[in-house]
């Protein structure tokens, strides 16, 4: 697993992908920080994070789109799948590499906290809980993106579908409120990412929310393993 993890991480930083993602994140992060913190003269960074979720929904598929589709397209997966490693290790190696790249991006918000501290005492608790929330939110999206990438040979298709799923998830609440059937409404709001995320946004870390977000990677990484497994049989 560590061999795959190391290779993937290297691939992110030897290609422009990681830097482009960081640059775009810094651009929008800076804009939100300027507009919702510096200009209104507050220490409350909640809106920076809330706005950031929609940027993350676009950026994460860029990180995950190549994970499996490129291997399939360039036929390099044959090397991985005939090596003495099991599928779970392959999936986890790739998944954790993407999570690492994403987690490094979140350092940005620590920098914003430090900038605030020059002017006033920032609420570190909220900043940290927000960072944890955004990390968990991202981990869930990365697992979905990884799964989608394992389904197709085309990176573009993987990216578009992952972005679509991310947007759908973010609209889940408004979708739920427009449905009349009660039990569908319950299901839709139960799988919404918005509700558990809101607690992190205001500085509350609840175990149930953490479990909710972590269950998504567990499910989708498992599904990715299944997809790879199934491919052998076709």
């Amino acid at each position: 697993m560590s061999a795959i993890y190391k290779r993937e991480l290297n691939a992110y930083f030897t290609s422009p992908i990681a830097y482009v993602v960081y640059a775009v994140a810094a651009l929008f992060g800076g804009m939100f920080f300027m507009g919702t913190v510096l200009t209104p003269d507050t220490t409350d960074m909640t809106y920076v994070f809330l706005n950031m979720t929609s940027v993350v929904i676009i950026l994460i598929p860029i990180l995950t789109m190549r994970l499996f589709s490129e291997e399939k397209n360039k036929k390099t997966e044959q090397g991985l799948l005939t090596a003495p490693v099991n599928l779970f290790q392959i999936v986890m190696g790739k998944y954790l590499a993407a999570v690492t790249v994403y987690a490094i991006m979140l350092v940005l918000f620590v920098i914003y906290g430090i900038i605030i501290s020059f002017f006033a005492a920032p609420s570190w608790i909220t900043i940290i809980s927000n960072i944890i929330g955004l990390l968990l939110f991202g981990m869930a999206l990365i697992s979905i993106g990884t799964f989608v990438s394992s389904l197709t040979e085309s990176q573009i298709v993987a990216a578009i579908i992952s972005i679509g799923v991310g947007l759908l998830i973010s609209y889940m609440d408004s979708l739920a409120s427009s449905v009349n059937v009660d039990f569908i409404k319950t299901i839709l709001s139960a799988i919404s990412f918005t509700t558990p995320y809101q607690n992190f946004a205001v500085g509350i870390i609840k175990l149930s929310d953490v479990v909710f977000f972590l269950s998504v990677p567990v499910l989708f990484n498992f599904l990715t393993v299944r997809v790879l497994e199934r491919r052998r049989w076709n």
Binding site: S2, A3, K75, T76, Q78, G79, L81, A83, P84
Partner: protein, 320 residues
């Protein structure tokens, strides 16, 4: 060392591999021969655990590929048709990655240097794979298969896309490998297989059509002789006359030469010289022979003969 038993692979309705069985003994170089689409790659992919068989078993050095995939895979070095190279890595980085991936325990730098030396890639060691020529890429692919010194090496068409000089180098390399490893080598180029392999397995339409030693195949091929003829006259009289000559096993018309003679090929057994008979027969019907030449049957012809289904039953029992 490698035992393949009753292997069947179905893609939907299509039967890609149909009940293929063969064994590869330790230290043997086995040639896996067949036209494109015969099921060579599929069989190799099943042996290496990349694909699963619909039924049948593959055992590598005592490890069943389905029951103990890790054990079996760790005993195989595989060079697929397209070498699984990451284009953006340097050769060094890539080989280090494969070393880590295979969890090799041999001393790292020494082992990698040795593999690089054997495959002659030392001078491109620090270059990015993307910028390498096809020949070098193929060799890096081979190096990748050799990492960890696996007892079994499987090479899927290793010399495709190489120039003649590189092909010869690749052959020598493979022959050298055969001293320490068990090698399975697939190809649709017969001369290549003939040059390096101890034994040849021929596959066509997913079915095993021959399994014998290289010598046996070569001698059966040499057993049949061919006569190439240019004759003046009409086909209607020439063909029956040719066929009626004693000892002729097969006669067919190839084409017409630019100067208006018919070109014919006649096959006969080596212990039965038909040249005089043919001359007399043609003289009798007043069709002069303007050219007569012995043409040896090439392995390519033999291959076509085998894969076209001729003599299949007699060949099948050729070896246990």
């Amino acid at each position: 060392m490698v035992e393949v038993k009753n292997l069947v692979k179905r893609y939907g309705d299509k039967l890609a591999v149909n009940n293929v069985s063969f064994t590869v003994n330790e230290g043997e170089i086995l040639g896996f021969l067949g036209p494109n689409g015969a099921g060579k790659s599929t069989t190799m992919n099943i042996i290496t655990g990349y694909l699963s068989s619909t039924s049948g078993t593959v055992t590598v050095d005592g490890c069943e590929i389905l029951d103990d995939p890790k054990g079996a895979k760790s005993k195989i070095g595989y060079l697929p048709e397209m070498p699984p190279l990451y284009q953006d890595m340097t050769v060094k980085r890539y080989l280090e990655f494969v070393y880590d991936l295979k969890k090799v325990t041999l001393p790292k730098q020494e082992h990698l240097a040795e593999v690089a030396k054997v495959t002659k890639i030392t001078d491109v060691y620090n270059r990015i794979i993307k910028n390498l020529s096809k020949g070098y890429r193929q060799r890096v692919g081979l190096a990748q298969a050799l990492i960890g010194n696996p007892p079994v090496i499987i090479l899927d068409e290793p010399s495709v896309g190489l120039d003649p000089k590189q092909i010869i180098e690749m052959r020598n390399l493979i022959r050298g490998l055969g001293k320490k490893h068990t090698v399975i080598l697939s190809s649709h180029v017969l001369s290549e297989i003939q040059a390096v392999c101890d034994r040849i397995v021929v596959i066509n339409n997913g079915q095993l059509v021959a399994d014998e030693s290289t010598q046996e195949i070569t001698s059966t091929v040499k057993g049949v002789k061919r006569l190439q003829l240019h004759i003046s006259g009409s086909d209607a009289s020439i063909m029956p006359a040719l066929r009626s000559v004693e000892g002729v096993t097969r006669a067919r018309k190839i084409s017409r030469t630019p100067d208006g003679y018919g070109e014919y090929v006649v096959e006969y057994n080596v212990d039965n010289d038909i040249r005089k008979g043919v001359f007399n027969a043609m003289a009798k019907i007043n069709c002069p022979i303007v050219m007569m030449r012995n043409a040896e049957m090439s392995l390519e012809d033999a291959f076509l003969k085998i894969t076209n289904g001729e003599d299949v039953t007699s060949r099948r029992g050729g070896r246990k």
